[in-house]
Symmetry: C2
Subunit: 419 residues, 2 copies
């Protein structure tokens, strides 16, 4: 295959990936191994698998998990619809887990359904933000040099300690680097190294690049990686990962308008205010049905936030239809989807309280759709108002929408908010 | 003074701290230097100053900032009521900034109002979670050894690269450590080192411990620190710091009850549910006035979350009084304070909508108190209900309270939420 190899005409080697995921998470200070810690209710390792599956030229992904967690991992693969994932049993150390993963790929294993790749990528289950670019770079460098690994500049000075716990010397920061993941190897180079290395290496070693050097005489090519490659190690790293994921899925809001309604004009005003107030958020338009009939024809963008502008006459079945389109799209399998139903109401002609009571169905309905990972809220905005007050209300509405999308807190589903 | 030195009878040396804060934040990928980046609207450096000011035996804190940011820093010191802070001008490198900070403490400077300490702690403005314990350890070790610094195990393997960008060798992880902050020195040891060191050291060096070794022949004692010492370096670190701070100020909720009311019983039921549902959150009780007169006598705990249970007859002036007590307590100078006003209402006898309209004053009032960093919301719970439905409502109320406290999102102020 002529693959996305960066150089036109360069043939991509066959590539598989091995993820050691046998760790027990003692550094995290929590009971759950860190690769299984939830972010927006989905385990961290599923985000890493998603990142690898986005890359079409990685044919197989072998995850090494402990016998104890095999069932957990099988359910993760099924629930989040991972493809290309095979499981191997983890060993008691990281190196033994990687070795087991490699064995599953080696054709000499009896009953093995996977085929031996030319290049194998080794990555950590707890580095979910790996990009195709760096995967490609290490894979191609491995094909050329036999081994390659991502590196980063040192954040702290590294020092060598003397036996009495005092400073012996500090290292030159310019000539040293932190060795990160992903790494990649010609399969035969790393498999040979693992077969030859000592039990001591398998127990106490940490660095695959070092094994390739020592046992296969292969000097790894070092490739500068991005800060996103960092390893989720401490509890604070889980918070950081959650923030990054929340920010990524909050980049885009889809506005769904009910075109048959008199509120169309003010719907577009809201869209304008959202564009102005929510910097860095892209607002895309989806047009809703005329009278609910065409609703199946909405093409939903790959977007996890919907603001639906309803007129006074918009009714429950219509909203229900929209939400079932959402469910069928399977968008909410991977991330919680926020849906804000906006109602423009004349608070003078219909008392606000009365209108709120008539919208109480949103509360019960929100509990239902929460089961399918959809977070539903209502937002009431007074209309008509004089132009300046209206702008104020729309701005407050934008702030409420931003809060719901940014925090994605399930504790607030079903609420009717007022701007 | 016989200070909290860990050993009874050990005399504490006089101690000052120097914080280089001249960095420009290019790694953060944002315009603002990272020490001035806001967390809950307060600049990061203010959290670090707060951590140092909690330690009573640190007499003076010298912050080195660029001439350009001197005004910004002065306003931070004033707004967040920092004491013991003096400003010095930063140099163009980290070492020059530290040197300028030390000069401000040396008694040989003309017009200097600070006095020379026996021990000086050097810390980073971007390590806000430093604890008294590690500060004490490095200060005492510095008194004994001349120099001391916090270290951490390496998270990644460190490698040495050859000139052609390939692996030369990987370092033994067991004998190497990351050098972190705080560090401490006998003042004369480090000041002497700075006076003697070369321009090259001042321009390109990074490690104070190395200067003490090279120019004052002092081998620093290394002290194992906690993971919390990590340096806020990348944008994700700001998110992590925000999560840690939010979690810390969400540990405790103060329940304020209106004792004259018929809702007292259900108020205590809510308290029970909060205790059961919000794990790790301590619920403390504060009793409110009888008829509003005794409200000034409430002693507010050092707590940033208040749940106020109101009866049907609780009125606006009473709430206003409570909030002015809060303001006078200056709790909200450092952190946004969340106040949830809970109303138990018989939705059958008074329509929910009507009651909501009568509570619309909360919306305007919330805008007012937001100016003083108080985030106000209303929460309506139906009462009486049959026991099981009531328990469900109270659980939902607890989830709403948890969401408001955890996220502390100002976009939701003034909302009336329904459980
Ligand atoms: Mg390795
Ligand atoms: Mg230093």
């Amino acid at each position: 295959a002529l693959a996305a190899s960066g150089e036109p005409g360069r043939r991509m080697p066959t590539v598989a990936a091995v993820l050691p995921a046998g760790g027990c998470g003692e550094r995290m200070g929590v009971g759950t191994p860190k690769q299984f810690c939830p972010i927006l209710e989905r385990p961290l390792i599923s985000y890493t698998l998603q990142a690898l599956e986005r890359v079409c030229w990685i044919k197989d992904i072998v995850v090494a998990v402990t016998a104890e967690n095999m069932g957990v991992m099988e359910r993760i693969v099924q629930k989040y619809q991972h493809t290309r994932v095979s499981l191997a049993e983890a060993g008691v150390t990281r190196h033994r887990s990687i070795f087991n993963g490699l064995k599953a790929l080696a054709e000499d294993e009896p009953g093995c359904k996977l085929s031996k790749p030319q290049v194998v990528i080794i990555h950590d289950a707890v580095r979910p933000f790996v990009e195709e670019d760096i995967l490609l770079q290490v894979a191609l460098a491995a094909e050329e040099h036999g081994a390659a690994g991502a590196i980063r500049p040192l954040v702290s000075t590294v020092i060598s300690a003397s036996a009495d716990g005092c400073l012996d010397h500090s290292l030159e920061r310019a000539t040293h680097r932190a060795s990160e993941m992903p790494q990649a190897f010609l399969f035969d180079v790393i498999y040979e190294a693992y077969q030859q290395c000592s039990d001591y290496d398998l127990e106490f070693g940490t660095e695959c690049l070092q094994l390739a050097l020592k046992y296969s005489d292969t000097k790894a090519k070092l490739v500068e990686g991005s800060p996103d490659l960092w390893k989720v190690t401490y509890k604070r790293d889980l918070s950081a990962a959650e923030s990054i994921i929340k920010e990524r899925i909050s980049q885009e809001i889809c506005m769904v308008m009910d075109t048959k309604e008199d509120t169309e004009r003010v719907g577009y005003l809201l869209e304008e205010v959202l564009k102005k107030e929510l910097n860095n958020v892209k607002i895309v338009s989806g047009v809703r049905s005329h009278g609910g009939r065409d609703i199946q024809q909405i093409t939903l963008p790959q977007c996890y936030n919907f603001v639906c502008v309803n007129g006074a006459a918009s009714d429950f079945p219509e909203t229900q239809q929209l939400l079932s389109v959402l469910e069928q799209s399977s968008l909410s399998i991977l991330y919680p989807v926020v849906v804000v139903l906006v109602y423009f109401l004349d608070f003078k002609s219909v008392p606000l309280g009365q209108k709120m009571e008539s919208l109480m169905w949103i509360r019960e309905f929100a509990k239902e759709v929460k089961k399918r990972n959809i977070l539903l809220c209502g937002l009431l905005i007074c209309y008509p108002q004089d132009e300046q007050t209206l702008q104020e209300s729309l701005k407050q509405g934008a702030a409420i929408i931003a809060a719901l999308i940014k925090d994605r807190n399930p504790g607030l589903i079903g609420q009717l908010l007022v701007a």
